[in-house]
Symmetry: C2
Subunit: 255 residues, 2 copies
C-alpha cells in the first residue's frame, strides 16, 4: 500500500521543490518505486527533474479538473524507479475553477487513489499557499513533510501551517499525520540559523529530522541541469545530507 | 498624485517582502511619504516592520472584502513618513471569497484610490502566487517592481509572470508599466548568479536596476528585530545596496 506524502509550507522559497525532488530521487535510488506529483503551477519539480515542459500534453490539471485517468498522466523520468505527474501553467486557473466544483478538496485524492498501490511512495510538491491546491494535497495524503528554512519569516509561518493541518484533520482528512520537519538552507555559523533551529526543535520535538540540509551551491545549481543532486554531484555535502535524511525517513517508515 | 507600485513575483522566497520593507524605509528616510500595503496572508511585511500582529484589529482583508474605509486601516509605524495597512490570517480566505464577488479584481483599487493623494508612493507586497490577491494588486497599480533571485527556478518563472502582466494590461489595467527588475540574493562568486543576472539583463535590458542586492546575513536578521535594514545595521552592505537602488528608483521617478 503506497504511502502518500505532501511536501508543504506556505512560506515561499523554503526548499519544498528541492526536497521533493531530492528525497524522491534518493528513495528511488534505494529501490523504492516513487511517483512524484507536481501540484505547483510554477512546475519547478517538472523542470527540475529534467522534463521538457513544452512536450507535456497532459498534466496534474487534467487529472484534477477534468478527471483524466492518472495512469495517462504518469511519465517515466530519466531516473530508474522515479515517475512523475507533471504540472503546467493550466494549473494557475485551477484554484479558481475548483471553487465552483462539488467535493473540491477531494479531487486529488480521487485522482491518485487508483494508482496508490503501484508505488511505494507518492510525493506531492505543493505551491507556496494554503489554497485549494494545497488543501487537495493534504486531503489526499497520509502525512505531511514540512521543510523549514532556518530564517525568521519561515519560522513565523509555522503557526498558521499547524492551524491549517488541524482544520484539515477536523474537516477533510482525520488521519493526516506529520511525517517530519526538515530544516533547510542552514548555516550554523550564523546565530539566525542556530536560533531558528532551536525554536523549531522546541516546538516539534523529535518530529524534526536529526539531519538538517546546509546551504550548498551544488543544490542550487542542479535543477538548471534537470538533475537531482545525487545525479548531479554525488560528492557534494548536499547529496550527502539528502541521502542521510532519506535514510532517516526510511528507518522511521520501515519499522 | 501618489504612485502605486506592486512588488510581485509568483516564485516564492525571492525577496518581495524584504524589498517592499527596505525600499519603503529608504524612501521614507529620504523624505517621501510612504504607505506600505501588506497583501500577503503570511503578513511578513506587517511583522518585519515591527507591528505586533495580535494588536491589529482591522487589516487589508477588511478593506478588500468588507469595504472598510482605508483611512481606518492605516497604522503609523515606528519610522517617520512610513505608514502601513497590515495583513492578517483572515486574508487566507479572501482568495476564495473574492471569486463570489462582482468586479473582484478591482477591490483593492477601490480601497486605495481615496488615499492615493495622501502619499508620495503606495507600495504593495504581494503573496507568492498569481491568484486574485496579486491580480487585485496589479489592477490597482501604476507599475510593478519585480525582485528576481539570482537562481535557476526564479528565472524559470519570469515567462509566466510577463504573460500575466500582459493579460492584466489587456483586461484590467491598460497602463500597468514595469517599474524595474531587482536582482536579489546575488553571490557573484558563483557561476549561477552570474548566468542568471546575464539572462535577466538580456531579457529586460535597461529595466534592470544597475544595483543588485547581495546575499547579506544582516538583511535576513533584521525582520527578527522588526526593523528595516537601514534602522537595524546602517553600516551593512545590505543597507548600502538598498539605499543605492532607492536612489536609482527616485532618479527615474523624479524626472
Ligand atoms: N540547501 C540548499 N542550498 C542552496 N540552495 C538551495 C537549497 N535548497 C534550496 N535551494 C535553492 O533555494 C531556492 C528555493 O528553493 P525551492 O524552490 O526548492 O523552494 P520552494 O519552497 O519549493 O519554493 P516555492 O515556494 O516557490 O515553491 C531555489 O533556487 C533552490 O535551488
Ligand atoms: N539579500 C538578502 N540576503 C540574505 N537574505 C535575504 C536577502 N533578501 C531576502 N533574504 C531572506 O530570504 C528569505 C526570503 O525573502 P522574503 O521573505 O523577503 O521573500 P518573499 O519573496 O517575500 O517570500 P514569499 O514568496 O514567501 O512572500 C527571508 O528569510 C529573507 O530574510
Ligand atoms: Mg517549489
Ligand atoms: Mg513575502
Amino acid at each position: 500500500m503506497g504511502k502518500i506524502i505532501s511536501i508543504t509550507n506556505q512560506k515561499g522559497g523554503v526548499g519544498k521543490t528541492t526536497s521533493a525532488i531530492n528525497i524522491s530521487a534518493c528513495l528511488a535510488k534505494s529501490g523504492e518505486k516513487i511517483l512524484l506529483v507536481d501540484m505547483d503551477p510554477q512546475a519547478n519539480t517538472t523542470s527540475g527533474i529534467g522534463m521538457n515542459k513544452s512536450t507535456i500534453k497532459l498534466s496534474s490539471y487534467d487529472g484534477l479538473i477534468l478527471g483524466v485517468d492518472c495512469n495517462k498522466l504518469i511519465h517515466q523520468t530519466d531516473y530508474s524507479n522515479l515517475f512523475l505527474v507533471p504540472s503546467n501553467v493550466n494549473l494557475t486557473g485551477a484554484e479558481i475553477e475548483l471553487t465552483q466544483i462539488d467535493a473540491r478538496e477531494y479531487k486529488l485524492k480521487k485522482m491518485v487513489s487508483p494508482v496508490r498501490n503501484d508505488f511505494d511512495y507518492i510525493i506531492i510538491d505543493c505551491p507556496p499557499s494554503l489554497g485549494l491546491l494545497t488543501l487537495n494535497s493534504l486531503t489526499a495524503s497520509d502525512s505531511v513533510l514540512i521543510p523549514i528554512q532556518a530564517e525568521y519569516f519561515a519560522l513565523e509561518g509555522v503557526g498558521q501551517l499547524v492551524q491549517t493541518l488541524d482544520l484539515v484533520r477536523k474537516n477533510l482528512n482525520p488521519n493526516l499525520a506529520i511525517e517530519g520537519i526538515l530544516l533547510t538552507m542552514c548555516d550554523f555559523r550564523t546565530n539566525l540559523s542556530k536560533q531558528v533551529a532551536e525554536e523549531v526543535r522546541r516546538y516539534f520535538g523529535d518530529k524534526v529530522y536529526k539531519t538538517s540540509i546546509p546551504r550548498n551551491i551544488k543544490i542550487a545549481e542542479s535543477p538548471g541541469f534537470g538533475k537531482p543532486i545525487v545525479y548531479y554531484e554525488m560528492r557534494s555535502i548536499g547529496a550527502e545530507k539528502y541521502l542521510e535524511v532519506t535514510a532517516e525517513f526510511l528507518k522511521l517508515n520501515r519499522n
